[in-house]
């Protein structure tokens, strides 16, 4: 292991390290801690200029209550869920199939199709903005969650395919051959052999896509408007417009918006990190 394991270092340095960790963490997360503290401060702290001091009173409950009951935040949150969950399911489903096709079969176009997915995945998505917006308009899906979901699924399929295909490539190909020798139909190979083995990849991808989509702002702005279909990232900006300079409420709102992916991360940490590294590895 590098650097040298700390337990082999002198006691003094061990203690320094242990002490340094929380300090570094606090410095690193300072902006977030600030927001968290903002969100439990009363309005008056901001007018009196007590921005960075201790809250004069704890108004956490009050502030969050206002976020939940006096704004559209709950609707935005719900929208986010309704956009994110179907996208995750759709992208993972489609890409496990494309990944299977590209990972298991040898055919001439294989690599090129794969490259198409990869290249498309790295495209600066601004180039898609105008045409996709038009497309969505033409399909009558503008400002619908469906429109957003469909696009997200398509775009994420690129990334997921890259991920899935590499994952499947890393599975022993003999499993497929063994099944073929045993007379198992191709779709059954997919269903009974590959899919169960992909569980870790499916979990990792789901978590990852969840965060990506939950945090998407650009497409939310391009393809939706208004509280009936916009996700929480876009919602937070209009929330903030509504409460401009009401820092305590803006903070509370931001925290509410940021919480689901954070929770997701904590609950599924292992998968999440696996997703990040596995997905892009190869190179």
């Amino acid at each position: 292991m590098f650097p040298k394991p700390i337990e082999r270092a002198p006691r003094a340095w061990q203690l320094t390290y242990q002490g340094l960790l929380p300090v570094a963490l606090i410095a690193w997360l300072l902006p977030l801690i600030a927001v968290a503290i903002f969100s439990i401060k009363p309005d008056s702290d901001f007018t009196t200029g007590n921005y960075w001091g201790w809250p004069s009173t704890f108004e956490g409950i009050n502030n969050y209550r206002r976020v939940f009951f006096e704004s559209d935040m709950p609707r935005y949150l719900l929208n986010s869920v309704l956009i994110t969950v179907p996208t995750v399911i759709g992208a993972v489903a489609l890409s496990s199939m494309t990944g299977f096709a590209l990972g298991v079969y040898r055919f001439r176009a294989n690599l090129w199709i794969f490259f198409m997915f990869v290249a498309g995945n790295f495209v600066p998505f601004q180039i898609l903005m105008v045409p996709v917006r038009d497309l969505t308009l033409d399909l009558g899906l503008y400002n619908t969650k469906t429109g957003l979901v469909l696009f997200h699924i398509a775009f994420q399929t690129g990334f997921c395919t890259l991920f899935m295909r590499n994952f499947i490539r890393a599975l022993p190909f003999e499993l497929v051959e063994a099944a073929r020798v045993e007379g198992v139909a191709e779709w059954r190979i997919f269903w009974f052999i590959i899919l169960p083995l992909m569980k870790p990849a499916l979990a990792a991808l789901s978590v990852l896509i969840f965060t990506f989509i939950w945090n998407d702002y650009f497409w939310a702005v391009v393809l939706t408007q208004g509280a009936e279909s916009q996700p929480v990232t876009a919602g937070i900006t209009s929330f903030n417009a509504q409460y401009r300079a009401a820092y305590h409420l803006m903070s509370a709102g931001s925290i509410v918006a940021a919480l689901p992916p954070v929770l997701m991360f904590f609950l599924m940490q292992r998968h999440f990190i696996a997703g990040l590294t596995l997905g892009a590895t190869k190179g």
Binding site: W28, L94, T98, L111, I127, V130, W187, A258
Partner: protein, 315 residues
């Protein structure tokens, strides 16, 4: 041992001809599996790329019919570039983004090295350090806007302790881009950190030991032995950082709206502004900017594909 009676082959002597599909399933199956995903992707991603190329040849406000203008949008871009107008600024900022965003890589490595220990609770620390990446850029942007606020922002509060400042980071055309990049570096560093943490896990311990026997210590160990082995992690970190830098939109949109006086624009934001914002009516022009952005990105995509191709061939 159990005596086994000779098993009777249960296969018919002549293969019963099964259906056409059955016979051809191996060559058909990949296409059937590919179809939904690939069509979707073609329809929503690949096809629009070409459409964008096409749209960039038109003058179109998104409302009335489009008018073919050839390369005139590009000519305008060229003049904007020559005149050091918005396009020039965006391009320049994009390059600054590209270069400075890469700082996330060494920074991530540094933190990863700092955290690559096995003291109690280190897992929690690692996750908490990773936190910024999970949070939406919208929130990050907001937080950093306050952070930089010229009157009450903590940055100026701290500068004040040292008798410096105040600096209006987001209001000064010289600092604004750097300020936003710093905000972007925060989650990006976290991302690189996690990549390196996993990379460090995969470093061959025997190589480290060989290095120790060879007398490489500390920084020399890092430079000569560890970093070369982190190459895959570095490669990914590089790719995702470049992508992140070129896609930068959220932060600018939240923090400055491209201002002050357009000095923090990047291509991604500029094209949105031109095509879809309050005062934007120029789809074709926006598409042309997107095409330029795409061409820049193409260098990296090509590099990535090429290195993947090389690996595939080797495998």
């Amino acid at each position: 041992m159990t005596d086994v009676s000779p098993a009777v082959p249960h296969y018919p002597a002549g293969a019963a001809p099964r259906g056409w599909f059955h016979r051809n399933q191996q060559s058909l199956a990949p296409w059937l599996f590919l179809a939904p995903g690939a069509l979707f992707f073609l329809f929503y991603v690949i096809f629009p790329i070409f459409q964008s190329f096409n749209i960039s040849l038109y003058e179109w406000d998104g409302l009335s019919p489009a008018e073919y203008v050839g390369l005139s949008n590009y000519r305008d871009l060229y003049w904007e570039f020559v005149d050091r107008d918005a396009f020039y600024v965006s391009l320049k900022n994009n390059i600054i983004w590209l270069v400075l965003y890469l700082l996330a890589i060494p920074a991530g490595l540094f933190i990863a090295l700092f955290l690559n220990q096995t003291v109690t609770g280190i897992r929690i620390y690692k996750s908490l350090f990773f936190f910024p990446f999970v949070i939406s850029q919208v929130v990050v942007g907001l937080v950093f806007t306050w952070f930089y606020d010229p009157t009450f922002g903590i940055l100026n509060t701290i500068l004040d302790w040292f008798g410096l400042g105040p600096i209006n980071v987001l209001g000064n055309e010289r600092y604004v881009t750097y300020g936003i990049i710093a905000a972007g570096l925060w989650p990006q560093t976290a991302y690189c950190m996690i990549l390196y943490l996993t990379g460090l896990n995969a470093v061959d311990p025997e190589q480290i030991e060989a290095g120790r026997l060879d007398g490489a210590k500390g920084l020399r160990m890092l430079w000569f032995i560890i970093i070369p082995q982190l190459k895959p992690a570095t490669f990914i970190a590089f790719v995702v950082t470049i992508i992140g830098a070129l896609r930068s939109f959220d932060l600018i949109s939240i923090m400055t709206q491209g201002g002050p006086f357009g000095s923090s624009r990047v291509l991604a934001f500029y094209m949105f502004e031109v095509a879809l914002s309050e005062y934007g009516f120029r789809m074709g022009y926006g598409a042309a900017i997107a095409v330029v952005l795409f061409l820049i990105m193409l260098c990296f995509i090509a590099y990535f594909l090429w290195s993947m191709y090389r690996d595939e061939k080797r495998a």
